[in-house]
């Protein structure tokens, strides 16, 4: 924790965020700070509030209390499309591709309101070389892993500063998950900061520079992967009280 503040001003600051799903309180006063260049992982079991938190940061859900500031500006009330234009771009849970559009048209939609930056369609084809030959194909006919790659590509061509990745591993075989996470170094190299949500803890520990564990809408553990032990993570993940919670 102590060395993180050296990386300059935070890119994203979430303060005491409360989000309701109807009567249910999905996120109960969560705070987090993401610095430029980090891979910030939110881990936790099903229903921990991770995806709701990410959707709220992207602007799709509305908080009942708390604030979100991005790049020093308050964005709590900003519409999702304005946040995307400002550089907060999300790869949503379940891919959410446009099924009636071809692969390339999916990427072109991602480029419609793109910021200036290093990413474009041909660079995405370099990152995922199989795409070029199949660019005319409808994405509905593709495998889960391929669809996930297209969803990542669609987000990258918008040239985000903060990339939100929601459950990349969901419904995919471990070997496919690793292949998809292999793109991460190139993404970071291009100056993009990553905030990701994962159910797959070992995958999150492998890539993260900082992690935060959620349980039933609360933070149960926070630190760098080096700072936390496997036992602490397990306790925080399942809510077993053994005195190691922060």
């Amino acid at each position: 924790m102590s060395t993180r503040t050296d990386s300059g001003t935070p890119l994203l600051m979430v303060r005491d965020l409360v989000v309701h799903h109807g009567q249910l309180q999905a996120v109960s006063g969560i705070s987090l700070t993401v610095f430029p260049g980090e891979v910030y992982a939110l881990i936790g079991a099903n229903g921990a509030g991770k995806s709701t938190l990410l959707r709220t940061i992207a602007g799709l859900n509305h908080p009942s209390a708390g604030s979100i500031s991005y790049d020093g500006k308050d964005v709590t009330g900003l519409r999702p499309e304005k946040r995307a234009a400002a550089g907060i771009v999300m790869v949503p849970e379940g891919r959410r591709l446009f099924p009636s559009l071809s692969l390339e048209d999916n990427l072109k939609v991602g480029m419609s309101y793109a910021r200036k930056g290093p990413w474009n369609i041909s660079r995405v084809y370099d990152l995922f070389p199989w795409m070029k030959e199949r660019r005319g194909q409808k994405t509905a006919q593709m495998s889960g892993g391929e669809q996930q790659s297209v969803a990542i590509g669609r987000a990258l061509v918008a040239n985000p500063r903060l990339l939100l990745l929601d459950e990349l591993s969901l419904g995919l075989a471990p070997v496919i998950v690793q292949r998809i996470y292999a793109m991460l170094p190139q993404v970071l190299e291009s100056g993009i900061t990553v905030l990701l949500v994962e159910q797959d803890v070992s995958q999150a520990l492998r890539v993260a520079t900082h992690l935060q564990c959620l349980l039933e809408g609360h933070t149960t553990l926070e630190g760098t992967p080096a700072e936390v032990t496997r036992e602490q993570v397990e306790a925080a993940y399942f809510g077993v009280s053994d005195g190691s919670n922060t």
Partner: protein, 291 residues
């Protein structure tokens, strides 16, 4: 030979029906709005053309682009205001709101233009001119022109949806509104553009109706909306060429019905409509997407 003639006349009428239908199909496909005021808006476009011609004395054909632009602007404004407000309150609300709009338009037209029907004179040389094939088939230039116009409109619409930036965004928003927002698209603006295009086609449809027969305040729901619905259902929702096919099938059914017995024209059209609903409820072309 009389049968061949009936089929050809029906086919040409089908072009007009496709013009009635494509805007309805587009608005349903993109915003899931069943616009019950669709036919009345076509009538409004016809009356606007009557007004423009009366005031400025431009030829009928010149009034088409002016009315198309006016209606497109009206479409964008209506979509961004009352239709969008209805969408956020649920699909049933859009039905009630457009139904209310339909009543307001019909009564407004009767108030200002009386219940008399009016035609849009294309000039005798064009409206009555025709050419003959053999001794019994005579094709009016006006009907042929409207059919060609319908094909051009559908082709243009298809090209726009598949190639342009906003066409792509319209398809994307129709697929997944939230995902489009994540790519930076304001779906309400995209809805507005889709409505503007739909209203533009409605304008062409209304003027063509006025040229080929006459328009009166109630023709919107009595004829245009019903034929548009029938064409969309016969052809299959969401497919532009299905809409043309649906219009042509309806037109041919009506013409053949009239050939059998003069009073069977409308009946035959709806008989085919019901038959398609029973045998093939997804429509003749069952692809779920445009282009």
């Amino acid at each position: 030979m009389a049968w061949v003639n009936a089929i050809i006349q029906g086919l040409l009428t089908g072009g007009l029906y496709a013009l009635f239908a494509c805007g309805l199909s587009l608005m349903f496909g993109v915003m899931k709005v069943v616009n019950l005021a669709h036919g009345d808006l076509a009538t409004v476009a016809g009356y606007i053309a009557v007004g423009i011609i009366a005031v400025s004395h431009v030829p009928v054909l010149w009034s088409i682009p002016i009315v198309v632009v006016l209606m497109a602007v009206l479409g964008y404004i209506l979509q961004r205001s009352i239709i969008q407000a209805a969408i956020t309150r649920g699909e049933l609300t859009t039905l009630i709101v457009t139904f209310g709009l339909s009543i307001i338009i019909e009564n407004g037209l009767q108030q200002f233009f009386t219940a008399n029907s009016r035609g849009l004179g294309v000039g005798d040389s064009f409206i009555t001119a025709s050419f003959s094939i053999g001794s019994q088939i005579s094709i009016a230039y006006l009907n042929l022109g409207i059919f060609v116009l319908a094909v051009v409109v559908l082709l243009g619409l298809q090209q726009y949806l598949s190639r342009s930036k906003y066409g792509r965004l319209i398809r994307a928003v129709a697929d997944d509104r939230e995902a489009a927002q994540l790519s930076g698209a304001d779906y309400r603006h995209v809805f507005g553009i889709a409505a503007a295009i739909a209203f533009g086609t409605v304008a062409i449809a209304g003027i063509c109706e006025g040229m080929i027969t006459t328009i009166s305040p109630t023709i919107g729901t009595d004829t245009i909306l019903l034929f548009a619905f029938a064409s969309v259902v016969i052809g299959g929702l969401g497919s532009l060429w299905g809409t043309l096919l649906g219009g042509v099938v309806l037109g041919v059914a009506q013409a053949v019905g009239a050939q059998i017995n003069g009073s069977w024209e409308t009946l035959a059209g709806y008989a085919v409509f019901l038959l398609v609903l029973v045998v093939r409820p997804q429509g003749l072309t069952s692809r779920g997407v445009q282009s």
